[in-house]
Amino acid sequence: MRAVQNPRRVVVTGIGAVTPVGVGRQEFWQGLLDGRCGTGPVCSFDTSPYAADQGAEIQNFEGARFVRRLDLETLGRTSQLAIAAVRLALEDAGVDPLGLDPDRCGVAMGTTSGEPREMERFDDRFMDDQLDRVGPRFMSRYPCHVIAGHVAREFDFAGPNLMLPAACAAGNYAVSGAFDLLRSGRADLMVAGGADCFSRITYAGFARLGAIAPERCQPFDRNRKGMIPGEGAAALILEPLERALERNATVFAEVLGYGLSCDAHHMTAAHPRGDGAARAMERALRESGFTPEQVSYVSAHGTGTPTNDRLEGYAVARVFGEAARRIPMSSVKSMLGHTMGAASAIEAAVCCLTVHDGHVPPTIHFEEADPDCDFDCVPNQAREVPVELAMNNAYAFGGANASVLFGQCRP
């Protein structure tokens, strides 16, 4: 095989986000630092049959503002959210996609459910005995690979195309996949992100598990009552350092390494001691040559369910030891809800911005400390902290865990 002796360094030069607290890097980041809450009563469907009514939806999203080359009418909502995030990220990076070599540009996207609203439409026909009226739309819109495909078609990218449906850790899987493709020289620019849309299928599932909080999402609080389903998309522009320097791009952060693992324990419940989560963090640190003490900020998975947050506490205690108590570790899900496949992509953007900006976002709705979550969750107020190295943690159904490290880009 072709030798790649010196893997290239990879940096983040653009950030795009479409979230319940803001659209675009600046509005999104300001919303988080202000502790703005993006959750509220669900608008997109009637929640009366469910034992819950809170959600984190993106109000007044206009796909037409972002989709230019493809016909908007042929795209599901998740694809539209994804294209919006990528367009914002490319603009943020100052990159004109049509000025690039298409063969050297690729896409890595994550999702949990893909385009669940297309499934719902199919099921409505099914329940009405009208499957012969499904038409060609289902196959051109529903299968999740079309999301990464639609992004590549909108921006004319002919390089590697990875759709990684790794559930709620998918954004981190996408960033790590893109990182490797750039390091080994298989592409010169990758967009990496995640997207999911609000859906009755996801909502019914979490409601049935009793996992949805009645009023608000309170990660790490002793009286936390659950997560809140949400929707959104985020994308990062990743490119080799030398290319970013050549074009005088703003470098938000360098991607320094990652660790992936699997609990191999249970589909929906994490390992009781957080074993897989700890192994992902340890691997990320080991492969990139850092010690736990060098980490200055952790973006927690922090869903706000009693179990997740407790196990996460165990896992960081195992990896960080005493340092766990002084390293700020917040959960933006307190503000955004759980945006599913978009979540860890959004949180990757958060990590890059903490490195770039020297502020860390808060965990809002925090009232009473939980002894099982014995760390500094940045309660309620953003804080100014110089961030040298940020770790992004994400855990998923199926037991998939992913930790990614972002840091200051030093010579």
């Binding site: 590697p160 195309n161 790794a166 049935r208 159904f397």
Partner: protein, 419 residues
Amino acid sequence: MNPPRNVVITGLGLISPLGDSVAKLGEALCAGRIGLSPVAENDRQPGVDGRGWPPVGAVVDFDAARYLGDGNLRPLDRAGRLVASAAGLALDDAGMDLDLRRQLEVGLVLGTMFGSVHTISAFDRRAVTAGPNYAKPMDFANTVINAPAGQTAIWHGLVGVNSTVSAGTASGLLAIVYAAELIRQGRSKALLAGGGDELCAESRVGFQQAGLLAGGGVDEEGHATAARAVPFDQRRNGFALAEGAALLMLEEEEAAHRRGARILGRIRGGANRFDPSGGTDPDRGRSVVAGALREALAEADWALDAVDACSASANGSVVGDRTEARALGEVFGDSLPTMALKSMIGEALGGSGGLQVAGLMAAMDCGVLPGIHGLEEAEAGLSATVVSARSRRLKVDRGLVTAVGIDGHVGALAVEKAA
């Protein structure tokens, strides 16, 4: 950073309409046996006229307990069972016992188009008709697209990387390309890689409504056209839907030697590309597929005449097969003997990539390249050297495996027989 590692194949497991081992698959392919059968009357869905539908490649009488023992299979749906069964066969074939799996932190990169679109639909319909309080939590766990990968990891104790790659009919091959790269870069020592999908009413209706299945059209006189799911044939009119799962055990070569593993073959190169026309512009598609073939060849450091055969992804699709044929022609002229096993097993979606590799390795083992079942008149530009209805004797040591998805995903893989 150490130099890139070599990637070897040390095991193969498959569940297919033509048997559950490379030997059985190879024997059936060479004998020209087909694994397609008519859709059962009682398996049609209300509201859909199933007349004239093409046959399907079902794994008939599939019994997961035969492969997975008497543990509790209830949490696994059909997609999960197909994949977990193929994984068990691949692990056994590679001699990878539980201790070794833990020690090597064996992971899984699974290609799947849907996970289980049947489970997702059934969960949703029950939540709507009976109310969300009556939806089944066990089904919800399987509504995530990575459910088959998660279930398989739980069943077999796979604690390494657990990744799912979705790229339609290219899913399985692109999963193998991705996994090989993880090993090459030293990220993993041992990964199961390949894919799987189940046959179900939801996907069958979806493909039929999209006009992608063979037959079902109407001729000039208003009669339903007969199904002709024949790869590279002039009169092909779509594919036959199938199911199956196939996984390779991939390992870093030195680690494999150290544990005394039997080496079946090597992954020499791979490529992942995308056609930004989304499969609508055959010229753009041809150049993207040709680019993928050249990338895999360059990585393998193979000259054109070093390649003995191609295991093609052609499935009878009108546009996709033409794109693939033209790309093979652009790169190899009319010199590369090509097999297309989907003529006999149909389009197994996520399962296809691994099955194509298995088919190629069977041809390497028995020295026979299977013919393309039903081929009468080949697509323009494809000579008899390239495609043939009849099986032929051929020494195959090096082969390419291709993936040309329905809407733009493209992959290529260079596979070499063990010395």
